[in-house]
Assembly symmetry: C4
Homo-oligomer: 192 residues x 4
Amino acid sequence: MEKGRLEAFSDGVFAILITITVLELKAPDGVSLAALASVLPLFLNYLLSYVYLGIYWNNHHHLLKACGRINGAIMWANLHLLFWLSLFPFVTSWAGDHHSATLPTAVYGVILLAAAIAYFVLQHLIIHEQGCDSRLAAAIGRDQKGRLSVILYASAIGLSFLQASIAQAIYALVAMLWLVPDRRLARALEQG
Amino acid sequence: MEKGRLEAFSDGVFAILITITVLELKAPDGVSLAALASVLPLFLNYLLSYVYLGIYWNNHHHLLKACGRINGAIMWANLHLLFWLSLFPFVTSWAGDHHSATLPTAVYGVILLAAAIAYFVLQHLIIHEQGCDSRLAAAIGRDQKGRLSVILYASAIGLSFLQASIAQAIYALVAMLWLVPDRRLARALEQG
Amino acid sequence: MEKGRLEAFSDGVFAILITITVLELKAPDGVSLAALASVLPLFLNYLLSYVYLGIYWNNHHHLLKACGRINGAIMWANLHLLFWLSLFPFVTSWAGDHHSATLPTAVYGVILLAAAIAYFVLQHLIIHEQGCDSRLAAAIGRDQKGRLSVILYASAIGLSFLQASIAQAIYALVAMLWLVPDRRLARALEQG
Amino acid sequence: MEKGRLEAFSDGVFAILITITVLELKAPDGVSLAALASVLPLFLNYLLSYVYLGIYWNNHHHLLKACGRINGAIMWANLHLLFWLSLFPFVTSWAGDHHSATLPTAVYGVILLAAAIAYFVLQHLIIHEQGCDSRLAAAIGRDQKGRLSVILYASAIGLSFLQASIAQAIYALVAMLWLVPDRRLARALEQG
């Protein structure tokens, strides 16, 4: 199985998710500043989800570029990652509508955590697949940023039961950590 | 007619269907665990439809890889398959909203059955198209998994009039049967 | 401007339109056969629009295959065609919800007519573009099927003010005429 | 990072946005001419947004064609542009529902202005990226049309507080200015 069609399909899903999330952003009821302001929490949540999907798309691109062969396990690990990402519109809408509530904020974190684990599994399968670029394993190394993200997501889920805004700040912080594309990987691949 | 644009178009439809189905998953009314639990049946239906679409995408990919030339009949057989798959969001939403009701469960099975038959027709046309890989016919052989699926879908449609949950269990069982990509085909193609 | 990205963009729009139209097919209110039957007119309209979009995609594919160079006029003629096709979900939903009413049926015909004219303009520009395959002009010839369709659409729009079902039968008839891919074109291109 | 996947992803987003905007065009309540006329303002807004997205897609295509290498900054500048464009369905729906109101008209202009600035940033990064076609810089030159657009958008935002229809006329005027693809660029690239 060549990776061309896997990339094309994944790109399609990423493009749809990133644009469908904004469909939840319903036009305000009325034309006042107050009506516009009422969609602000949902807008901020949309912005955060957009940034996360951009990060995943970017890193997904680097990950697959380093890999020549795709097998069934990688295909399903990829679909598994896309499944959790496909829940972004759902949690973005729910968490945005109830931005100070515990449960939606915690569930948003659960989806982020599940997507991070799914990405970790995909990365692991690609590294161990024969025929893949050994530089990938060296470049990712101990994957400290990935491990730190998982710890931060888990902490944020717990803290959302104390105060939703703390959890939201942590979600935004992790996005900041990843906004820079994976330079280790980019650098290692360029040296080849 | 080359297959490149047929694959690109089909990938687009698969990517959209797999992500659009989740759009039916409306944010819960409220922030309680009970509100979240109320979307669980629809979520499980979404998960099942997601797995089915993933299976079809994967097998569709293998099927087209083995075939070099596309004619008008194959093009329309492909659109026929995509038509039944395009009804997944509709039946997923209906069966998920009424998960213990007979009719939505039976109609879900009818769509699964129609998609299976459409896939069978597409496969048949591709095997009999001159210029296609003769290994494909050998690899698919008597297509026992395909035949068994059709029997199971038909049985489940009948059984849904006794008890919807039995039919749902059969739908999930068939998905399990197919979750493994078509190894016969993959193996046969690799030997070439 | 190469045609690769124009084809990819058009394929994306076709794939989205063909799947988005079904989003208008809301889950029935209830689980009775009567509830299911109530979505039948919309379902039939969806089926008709699906077939039309499939026909346009297929002929669009043949048209662009014969042409090597794309200029700004062709690009905008293509966007013009896609604009009218993008109104299919809107008219499908409206005409399906009011299947015996005059105005929605007439407007459905207006969109079909406008799309046919837009396709005619695109075809004309591609034939007259320097560098295009001269066999294309020969293959399309006097384009009797295209001219007949325009006359039938215009007649149906008029007749919808007498009886909506006559117009709907004509729309289905024109789709039948086109269901066979453009064999003249396919044959002419194969001889090359 | 090669530009192929960036183009494919961007094409996907453009195709989705251009078709999703029309989803906001709900079927009229009723079958009278008055009901149809009531969707006219939203239809005109959809048409304007469609034209703007077509212009951006066309110019985006020319911009990337001239550039061989993509880096992380260009990737994020591209996502930044797509973010503002992804708000088109939202503002189109809001401004179309309240076509004589100040705030929706002004916010429509703010999104247009932000997209124009994002395009400016992307263009700037591509010109200054090593390995890019130096003809691009020469072709774009002082980018008078880009500068004029920004001034017109800003003026329209201000004028929308006097009279919404003046601002809307200016938005339509800027679209007219850009409807012609960037001939300077096309000409310069053809000479190479």
